[in-house]
Symmetry: C2
Subunit: 137 residues, 2 copies
DNA sequence: AATAATATTGCAAATTATTTGCATTTATGA
DNA sequence: TCATAAATGCAAATAATTTGCAATATTATT
C-alpha cells in the first residue's frame, strides 16, 4: 500500500514547507497508530519543542490533514486523515488502555445516521466503544 | 415524567448519603443538559469545593450513576445514566460550541455494531457528531 | 442517645496538558 | 540576494484535574 507524500500534502494545502512540519507529517504518515502531541515528540527524535508540535497539530487539524480521534484522560489523540485512512470507530480497553482502530462502518450505516442528526450539518463522526478488549478478557 | 430520587440511588449503590452527594446528585437529576465538574459547581449554590465534586463524580462514574459523554477542549462532560436517560449520540457545534443530545439509535443499529467490534466486550458507546448546528448554519 | 470506626470533605499544593508572549529564525517569492 | 511575513523556541501562564493530610461527618454499635 503506497503512502502519502508529506511535502506534497503541505503544498496542496498552501502551507509553508518547514523542516518541522515535514518531520512531524512524516512521522504521522509512517505510523499506523493514533498519536498525541507527546507521543509524537517521542517519535521524532529531533528535539522539537512541544509548543511547536501543538501549533503544527492545530494547523494540520484546520487543514483536515489529521482528525480528532479521542480524548482519553484529558489527552487529545489524533490520526492521519487521508484516502488511505478513512473515518472509522475505535475501541478503548479500560484494562490495558489500548486504543484499537476498528473497521469502517458501511456507507449505508453512515447515511442512516441522518435520521437522528436532523438539520445539523455533520462534518465528522467519532464513534468510540469502551470495554474490555479481546486480549484482556 | 417522574425523576429519580437521589437518596434512593445512593443507598441502592451502597454509598454513604452525604450532604454533598445529595446536593450534587439532585443538581444532576434536575438538569437536562450535560455537565462538567465546573458547570456543576455553578449549579449547586452551596460553595462546595471543586475537589469534592471531582471525587464525587469519580464515585458516581464507578457506580454508573453517570456516564462519560464527551471531552471537549480538555474538559470532561458527563450526563445522568438512568432509565429516564438512555445512551444516545451527541452533536457538537463548532461555531456556538453547543452540545445537543440526539435521539437514541434504534436497537437494531446497536446490535449491528457487533460486526465491527469483534471479540472485544463493549460496555459503552460514545457517538459524537461535529459540525454546524441548525441554528448556526 | 452517645461512641467509635471509617469514609468523606476542604484546603493547599502538585501535576499534566495545553496555550500565550515575544524575540529570533526560516521560508518564499520578488 | 533581499524583504517580508510566517514559523519556531524558550519561558512563563492557564486550566483541568489529582494528591496529601488534617478536620469533619456518617453509620453501625453500644
Ligand atoms: Mn484509527
Ligand atoms: Mn445527552
Ligand atoms: Zn485490553
Ligand atoms: Zn451552533
Amino acid at each position: 500500500m503506497d503512502k502519502c507524500d508529506s511535502a506534497v500534502i503541505l503544498k496542496q494545502n498552501g502551507l509553508k514547507v518547514t523542516q518541522q512540519r515535514l518531520l512531524l507529517l512524516d512521522a504521522i504518515i509512517n505510523t499506523d497508530k493514533i498519536f498525541s502531541a507527546l507521543s509524537l515528540q517521542d517519535k521524532v527524535n529531533d528535539n522539537m519543542d512541544l509548543v511547536t508540535i501543538y501549533r503544527i497539530l492545530t494547523v494540520f487539524l484546520e487543514n483536515k490533514i489529521i482528525r480528532d480521534v479521542i480524548s482519553k484522560d484529558t489527552t487529545r489523540f489524533y490520526e492521519l486523515s487521508c484516502i488511505h485512512n478513512p473515518v472509522h470507530p475505535h475501541f478503548v480497553c479500560r484494562k490495558c488502555n489500548n486504543i484499537i482502530c476498528l473497521n469502517s462502518l458501511k456507507n449505508g450505516y453512515m447515511s442512516k445516521f441522518k435520521e437522528i442528526t436532523g438539520d445539523n450539518i455533520v462534518e465528522n463522526v467519532i464513534i468510540q466503544f469502551t470495554g474490555i478488549c479481546s486480549k484482556c478478557k
